[in-house]
């Protein structure tokens, strides 16, 4: 049998391994072939391909906003956008359908909590450099200073893996003009430079040369040019390239890339329009529908968002993102039983993680299935890791508050703080418990901690205002209630308190 095996052509085997995604074996064979004959184009091709595939991440999904991008952003058109036309003011949906903060909590960047974590769910933009730098750096809000230095360096570290005889391709020694003319090799070389080496400058040069050599007829190269421009932050140029590629050949990716540029340029309506057109060309393309739903969610227009997520079900009933988002929406729309069905479906589909059990536990609690609730939290804690155990404890505390077991609640919130010292909500609730015990100073300290960690947490501001008002410190109370209304303008209790304080002041 061994003899038989030896008759196999190594190139055939390498091709077979590449198809079966056994990249290490493929690279090994190709390296051997290249040792024998360094000019073997086929081996070179397959090695580059295998190395690229090892680190491939879909560029449509990879996106992180750095501080520099947000502040040195000179692409947005209007500084003060009209309601419902910008991501910068998430709460101001034009249709008046935005949900109230009192019902659905906000993330640390002042955006409704989403049911699905994706790279750009934290893209609230700070107003000034000072604010951006002061924003606390917890593990959850960590934001690289620029995207060029943050995530992509991590993604591109493949170039740092030690290879026994130096890097496979040294971009600085490449004669890009020569490779650009070779239609068989240039695409794989581009992918290698872009994904594996993360060398955007050389990729861009290669793409530009190759576009020329293909006489501007290959839409793929235009798409790559757009990708490079996007990475370099030249969004207007990226837009042009994607538009041109789209005109030549409408593909799903081209729509998604162009929409991504529009989102980056803070033109959500243009993005929505584009998704609409894309759906006409590719009816039932789930990624386009989801993209549209995400934009609606980003605008705070949750009703439309859910409409699109429901549309996803017509074409792909097992889309995890859609199920999760609809579940979350139902939960915050006071329908825990229906939300429970969504989450249970996810569990049946094999999504087994802390967050899911946590959500199911909460749904069970609100659906008055108390016995299941605690079991779910028990499981959630069993599965939890350091990052999310704090949230589970927080929710257990929340439930204990609901059951009236203030002792358990107190311990649970303490546990949450032990695992995550920056859990603002836990501080807030702990403070409320202290307040009920009559330990006013301790409560005040906890409220202040909560506020320092998360400025957007209107509850802490309001509670502190109430506390100060009770002690007769009307000045602080007034200040805090104003901050509370800044974070959540429609909060009725805050409004009442403010009116009351105003009355006091006029009496004085």
């Amino acid at each position: 049998m061994a003899l038989v095996e030896k008759q196999l052509d190594p190139l055939f085997l390498a091709r077979s391994y590449l198809r079966r995604r056994k990249f290490d074996s493929c690279v090994e064979i190709c390296s051997k072939m290249l040792e024998k004959n360094p000019y073997d184009q086929c081996a070179w091709f397959m090695k580059a391909k295998a190395l690229t595939e090892q680190v491939y991440v879909d560029e449509v999904e990879a996106d992180t906003d750095g501080i520099a991008e947000m502040l040195m952003d000179d692409n947005s058109i209007a500084q003060v956008a009209r309601p419902g036309t910008s991501f910068k003011k998430p709460g101001t949906s034009g249709q008046g359908t935005s949900t109230s903060q009192g019902i659905r909590p906000m993330s640390q960047s002042g955006r409704p909590v989403s049911g699905f974590v994706r790279p750009s769910t934290q893209s609230g933009r700070p107003g000034t450099m000072e604010q951006a730098i002061k924003t606390p750096r917890t593990a959850h809000t960590a934001r690289p200073v620029t995207s060029a230095s943050g995530r992509f360096v991590r993604l591109g570290t493949a170039s740092m893996l030690s290879e026994p005889d130096g890097p496979f391709i040294n971009p600085s020694q490449l004669n890009l003009a020569k490779y650009a003319d070779r239609p068989g090799l240039n695409k794989v070389l581009f992918d290698y430079l872009f994904y594996h080496e993360n060398d955007i400058k050389n990729s861009l040069e290669l793409a530009a040369l190759a576009t020329q050599s293909s006489k501007y007829e290959d839409w793929w190269w235009k798409q790559q040019l757009g990708k490079c421009y996007y990475r370099l932050g030249l969004y207007r140029d990226a837009e042009k390239q994607f538009q041109s590629a789209l005109k030549q050949q409408p593909t799903v990716d081209n729509y998604l890339y162009l929409a991504k540029v529009f989102v980056k340029l803070d033109q959500p309506l243009a993005a929505l329009d584009l998704f609409e057109k894309g759906m006409e060309v590719f009816p039932g393309e789930v990624s386009l529908i989801i993209g549209s739903a995400r934009v609606h969610e980003g605008l705070g227009d949750l009703d439309s968002s859910v409409k699109f997520y429901k549309k996803v079900f017509q074409y792909d009933a097992s889309s995890v993102e859609a199920i999760a988002c609809i579940g979350t929406h139902n939960f915050y729309s006071d329908m825990p039983e229906i939300a429970l069905r969504s989450f249970r479906r996810l569990l049946q589909m094999g999504v087994v993680n802390t967050e899911l059990y946590n959500n199911i536990g909460l749904c069970c609690f609100y659906a008055q299935q108390y016995d299941m609730s605690l079991t779910c939290f028990e499981r959630a804690i069993n599965l939890a890791n350091k990052e999310n155990v704090a949230d589970v404890w927080y929710n257990i505390g929340h439930i204990a508050v609901g059951l009236g077991d203030s002792n358990l609640a107190y311990q649970a919130f303490q546990m949450a703080l032990i695992s995550d010292n920056n859990h603002a909500e836990a501080y807030n609730n702990l403070a409320v418990l202290e307040m009920r015990k009559g330990k006013v100073e301790q409560a005040r300290a906890y409220f202040l901690s909560a506020i320092t960690i998360n400025q957007e947490l209107y509850e802490a501001h309001y509670n502190l205002a109430i506390l100060s008002e009770g002690q007769g410190d009307l000045n602080t109370s007034f200040k805090e209630v104003r901050k509370s209304l800044e974070a959540f303008a429609e909060h009725v209790d805050s409004k009442n308190l403010l009116a009351q304080l105003r009355q006091y002041f006029t009496l004085l």
Binding site: M1, V4, E5, Q7, L8, D9, L11, F12, L13, R15, S16, R19, R20, R21, C42, F45, M46, K49, E53, D58, M72, D74, M129, P183, G184, L185, N186, V188, D218, W219, W220, Q223, L234, D237, Q249, T251, V252, D253, L256, F282, G284, E285, V286, S287, Q314, Y315, D316, A317, S318, V320, Q348, M349, G350, V352, Y357, T375, E378, N382, L383, Q411
Partner: protein, 835 residues
């Protein structure tokens, strides 16, 4: 992610340690048996051919019809009408040859069951290493299948049954792609390495061959071949399959990419596409019940099988393995079994069902709960928690004596050799202080750290000393060398001393004391000066002392001091003259520097009191200051410091404004540079450079102001101390308690690093005093409290200070009883701990 799992109907493992790729599976009635049962044919890269016929659920060894070792690896298998008759034959592709075989039942041995034979019909030797092949009735010849083999270097060889037809090289070839034949258009579909799907007509291939000689084929010198059509799909092609519906016209070419699935029409136009969020491994299109649509089975590398109806997901279920090829098999009357082969040779025949795919999390440990035990444990834990969260007052009180006391030996005179300046080689006056630790009880401490914290102008050569094994010996000795650099006039001759350690109960403790420095460290005797800018006169009720005697340690005679007149010169150069009146009971202290007066007055009064205490007598010594209080000098110091504060603030404001400007210019420049059409910079770079220089200059100026402000802080602090001293002597009924209140209001702690400055703090406290205990009318009581903001000038503050002192002198009392009590209480505590 799938809700269901596929149900296994039949399973076998075709050989251990063998490898299979996507072309190594085919399904069909290969032995032409009359019952038309479909057989599964697999051939491994190790060259073993196996044929299975699944008949019953589960499967047994009888299902294997044939196992046959060939002499070279099997690269591909296919079934077709490859021999003249209408029967089906098996084509096996090896690297260097393609063989056509017939599979038939062995009729010679009947008694021990059914055996199958494989026999070669014909075989072609291949010039080049083969990659893959496809069968089809090329040239639209009915009921006959031909073979087309693609070699690794892109040569298409055509075999019309047992004869070689022709061979052609594909243009611009690098890596062979999947190969397919479309009967309706008589075209071959393949993919190029630049992500194009290409179509070549059989006609075109055949016609251009005729003009070529055989040599050219061998050398590979092919003529340019025209492509029929090509489509750029921008994705790497994994597999290509052809599907023609019931009506032959609607042939669709399905192309499975690495991240997308494309459906192309016969002319290469994209009909629809579908983006995947997974990595597909193989797929198989089949007829759908809904007209106009095609169903597809797509398997991926995360062990899931999807059924798509065009672009709508109809079903998904999980698999047991990652298949390399997927087919549909009919077993008898049962249609629609899914055959999957993975790379290790596991073959599953399964069907879709509604078995839930349960990936359960590790179950939570379930034990019989003993409630009594749990309750006990709970109670125990609650106890622990309660103990941990006990408030501080329940903690054991610190009543025990400190483990040792610090004794500072009195310092007598300066060291002979002083500490030298690093550069100028001048000697600073230096004293060496010896410190003893005496343990009160028989305990030994491993480590005690002694720290001194001298204030400028005093420095210590060593700020802390670590003593080990304290208590085991009789005493522990430490020495500190303190010296005076003369940067400014000293205002305090005591230096705090702290010993901190961990006691035997491993809790941290500290013991405090202070070092009293001799006056010699601050000043030396000098020749008295007759005139001076600032003069202070003090009256006593005892006859004037002999000053030489009083300051005996200073050696004043050597510099021309007399009984009634001595002078001192501080290290920083100020001369202070002390005069005693010959006839009256008055003393006068005068100097050109206002703040230098303080240390001498303070020391003089101290010595005076000590002297008369020693003598004793019926009438205690009383010292008074007749006034007027030197307010003008004091206000000058306040003003100069305030000016510095204003300057610092303006520098900071300018700095922030310039920084903003700098960022704005940077932003504009960035836009310019980003612009594709280069535009002139309009001197923006010069502006950037200029702003940068400004920022640097401003930062330097701010630094200098901060330094100057530190000096001013010290001056103000010393002047305030002097004022407090004088006010106490000036106002007849200001007792110690009230003096502490005054000190806490007119505080000598001046710190410019705080957000709230000294001026507003003092102003606020004095306003409070004036409003409450010193108020004369009710109108004054209703004056609003001052806000803690930097005032625009100091007139208000000065007015308030003058008013305060005037009222105090006229007999006003600082009787904020509760408040004063608390403060004095705290002060006493401090004193106690200090001794």
């Amino acid at each position: 992610m799938s809700l269901f799992k596929s149900r296994e109907w039949w399973y076998t493992h075709a050989g251990a340690e063998e490898e299979y790729d996507t072309c190594n599976l085919c399904v069909g009635n290969v032995d032409n048996s009359p019952d038309k049962l479909e057989k599964i044919v697999v051939g491994s890269l190790q060259g073993i051919l196996r044929i299975y016929c699944p008949r019953t659920k589960g499967g047994n060894h009888e299902d294997m019809l044939l196992e046959y070792q060939t002499d070279s690896p099997i690269l591909g298998l296919d079934i077709g009408r490859l021999v003249g008759d209408s029967g089906l034959y098996l084509a096996i592709l090896h690297p260097r040859k393609v063989t056509v075989c017939s599979v038939s039942v062995d009729t010679t041995t009947k008694d021990t069951g059914t055996f199958y034979n494989i026999s070669q019909i014909y075989s072609h030797k291949l010039e080049r290493t083969a990659c893959n092949m496809c069968l089809g009735s090329f040239g639209s010849i009915k009921n006959k299948d031909f073979i087309c083999v693609q070699s690794m270097d892109g040569m298409m060889s055509f075999y019309e049954q047992d004869s070689f037809a022709f061979a052609r090289f594909l243009p611009q070839f690098l890596i062979p792609g999947p190969l397919c034949y479309v009967p309706s258009t008589d075209t071959f579909i393949t993919s190029s390495s630049s992500n194009f799907v290409e179509a070549y007509r059989y006609q075109t291939l055949a016609v251009s061959t005729e003009s070529e000689s055989k040599d050219q084929i061998k050398t590979g010198a092919g003529k340019r071949l025209r492509v029929d059509w090509k489509t750029n799909i921008g994705d790497n092609v994994v597999d290509i399959k052809i599907f023609s519906g019931a009506d032959d016209n609607a042939t669709t070419i399905f192309v499975l990419g690495e991240h997308n699935l494309f459906a192309l029409r016969e002319n290469g136009v994209i009909r629809f596409m579908k983006k995947f969020d997974f990595n597909p491994s193989c797929f198989y299109p089949y007829g759908s019940l809904v007209e106009g649509t095609v169903n597809m089975l797509v398997a991926n590398h995360s062990r899931t099988c999807y059924v798509w109806q065009d672009t709508t997901l109809a079903w998904s279920s999980s698999f047991q393995h990652v298949p390399v090829n997927i087919r549909i098999l009919t077993v008898g009357s049962l249609k629609g079994h899914i055959v999957t082969l993975d790379e290790t040779g596991k073959i599953y025949v399964s069907y879709l069902g509604t078995d839930p795919s349960l990936q359960t999390a590790a179950p939570v440990e379930r034990r019989e709960i003993n409630y009594d035990e749990k309750d006990q444990e709970m109670a125990k834990l609650q106890q622990v928690i309660r103990e941990c969260t006990k408030p501080i007052e329940h903690a054991p009180k610190i009543t025990d004596q400190p483990d040792f006391s610090i004794f500072v030996e009195p310092v007598n005179g300066l060291d002979v050799v002083g500490v030298k300046h690093e550069e100028s080689d001048t000697e600073y006056p230096t004293v060496t202080v010896k410190i003893n630790l005496r343990c009160s009880s028989k305990i030994s401490l491993d480590k005690v750290t002694l720290t001194v914290a001298p204030e400028v102008p005093f420095y210590a050569t060593q700020r802390s000393v670590v003593l080990t094994n304290v208590g085991s010996g009789p005493t522990s000795l430490a020495t500190f060398s303190l010296y005076n650099t003369g940067q400014r006039v000293a205002s305090d001759l005591t230096v705090p001393l702290v010993a901190h350690y961990t006691n035997n109960h491993s809790s941290p403790r500290s013991v405090h004391n202070s070092i009293h420095l001799p006056l010699q460290l601050v000043c030396s005797a000098a020749c008295p000066e007759k005139s001076a800018a600032h003069k202070i006169t003090i009256e006593t009720n005892k006859p004037a002392m002999n000053l030489l005697e009083l300051f005996s340690e200073m050696n004043c005679e050597s510099e021309g001091g007399q009984n009634g007149c001595v002078a001192f010169k501080t290290v920083s150069g100020e001369v202070i003259t002390l005069l005693a009146a010959k006839n009256s009971q008055k003393y006068r202290i005068q100097s050109n520097s206002f703040i230098a007066l303080y240390i001498i007055i303070q020391q003089f009064l101290m010595k005076l009191r000590r002297h008369f205490e020693k003598i004793g007598g019926t009438q205690p010594l009383s010292v008074t200051f007749p006034g007027p209080v030197p307010l003008q000098e004091y206000f000058d110091i306040i003003d100069s410091r305030f000016e510095l504060r204003l300057r610092q603030r303006s520098y900071r404001e300018m700095l922030s404004q310039r920084a903003q400007q700098f960022r704005a210019i940077q932003r504009r420049l960035l836009t310019r540079f980003k612009d594709k059409t280069p535009s002139p910079l309009q001197n923006m770079d010069t502006l950037l450079e200029g702003t940068y220089q400004q920022i640097l200059a401003l930062a330097d100026a701010d630094l200098q102001t901060t330094k100057a402000l530190e000096e001013a802080d010290h001056a103000l602090s010393t002047a305030t101390k002097l004022m407090l001293l004088l006010v106490k002597l000036w106002c007849p009924n200001l007792d110690d308690k009230q003096a502490t209140v005054l000190q806490s209001c007119l505080t000598p702690d001046v710190n410019s690093s705080d957000d709230v400055g000294w001026e507003e703090m003092v102003d606020a406290s004095i306003t409070m005093l004036l409003r409450t205990c010193l108020a004369k009318t009710t109108k004054e009581q209703s004056v609003g409290a001052a806000s803690l903001k930097l005032p625009s000038d100091t007139t208000k503050l000065k007015k308030h200070i003058a008013l305060l002192l005037e009222r105090l002198n006229k007999g006003g009392t600082l009787s904020l009883n509760t408040y004063a009590d608390k403060v004095s209480h705290r002060n006493k505590d401090q004193i106690e701990s200090g001794s």
